[in-house]
Amino acid sequence: MAERQRLRTRGPGRFVTRAIVTAYLFLLVAWPLWLVAQNTFADGFDNLRGILDDPDVVHALQLTVVVAVVAVVINTVFGVGISILIVRYRFPGRRLLNALLDVPLSVSPIVVGLALVLVYGGRSGWFGPGLEDAGLQVIFATPGIILATTFVALPLVIREVVPVLEEIGTEQEQAAQSLGATAAQTFRRITLPAIRWGVTYGVVLSLARSLGEFGAVKVVSGNVLGETRTATLVVEEKYLNFDQGGAYATAFLLALVAVACIVVVSIIRPKEEPR
């Protein structure tokens, strides 16, 4: 209560800063976001029905979901594994690896796409021709889209799990081991329950990021209608072909999922804090 009192006595500057921040966020984020919803429903449900009746759009949505789920599974397994290795073990190059794991966050998606084409491209890539001879086409096919999506979302699970692992320490794990638990039992019964919220946030954020990847996918997918076109590519194509209704409706669906992911994380996160 004293805290509250003191805050309240702070002068009128408080209202000025509050107003500036609210107006800034309203103009930059809230209002534009609202307008997309408004444009989507300008003709009632026609726009949404229009895209959901279009088999190519439905295929694109399905492809996006499949790619995102595969990418999230890969990144979760890899992310939890590498987080445990980095926090719990010492090996040469640990610090360098830790720095390198953040690289995907600051690389341009176009550069990500280019990098994958240079290695896995079917004609002149380093490994591409060999893989194609073995019957696996990566670039301009679904595996390439999965690689690109996995690349851009790679650090998200790690960034959520590492701080939690550091915080919980090793006492319980050591106790379990001294009582005869195997490594697998310790992981399943002690470590995993302790990091489950960190993993959950990581998964939700990775999912949002994976569903929405655009630049890297554009380079590696070839954007073939009904085959390798994803939802974000549909938004671009519809808008450039003057189908604004379709573009807004597809964008609305993507935005809905993204906002839902953030709200879910912001609702579950505080429950863990007062622990």
Partner: protein, 281 residues
Amino acid sequence: MSEAAAGTVRRRRPPATTAGGRLTRVSGLGLGVAMLWFSLLVLIPLAAVVATAVAGGWDGFWRAVTNDQTAAAIQLTVGTALLVTVVNVVMGTLIAWVLVRDRFAGQRALEVLIDVPFALPTIVAGLVLLSLYGPDSPLGLDVANSRAAVFLAFLFVTLPFVVRTVQPVLAELDREVEEAAASLGASRFTTFRRIILPALAPAIAAGAALSFARGVSEYGSLVLLSGNLPMQTEVTSVRILSSIENDNLDNAAAVATVLLAISFAVIVALDVIQRRVGRRG
């Protein structure tokens, strides 16, 4: 307080090994598999970009990078990213301040809004901004196909970075020091400048670096918004893409190497900042 993407945006410290365990046979195998995957997915492809740029020789690299249109694109990208970073340092710190030190109805909603640019697909971000600042703007503000559009798009996608790095540091700041300063007669401004700002500086710097890196590498939100006019609103990523589409991978790799060098510099800068903070305790 909800900090949805806080962990993702906040730079994590170099982790302390809690056990300091040596690798066992199983964990060694796990590390091997993880490194193999990470190499195939990230390290080898990025090395291929640099290798392709180098293979073209220094002359080819220099010609690709100093081409008028490319140089203009790099200049626009870096210049706008710097400008946006300055705005973010001021606005991001102010937003973090209001979120931590103020209490009012609707604050949770603002928290969620901060993270929207992080989770929203970039192409959707472009469309979102176009609906308020495009040809059909209800405000009568049409910035589409201008340099202001590039600025606006960068401002949108980099919004969370400074806020989310400053917020946790500000929340942990000891209020007693501020009260002591005030009781010794320091004005509000002096207290802010001498007590609060120095404590926040490393977090602000880290957020600024992240926001700069994100701005420089931005692509998706510009596609619909900036029109990609050569010499005017074309950013570096768009230049690289048009090289790829013209099947000129050497050129694309050369320009991409410039972007990679910038990201690398930012990562190194972050590491230095973090270490300095770590040393201070």
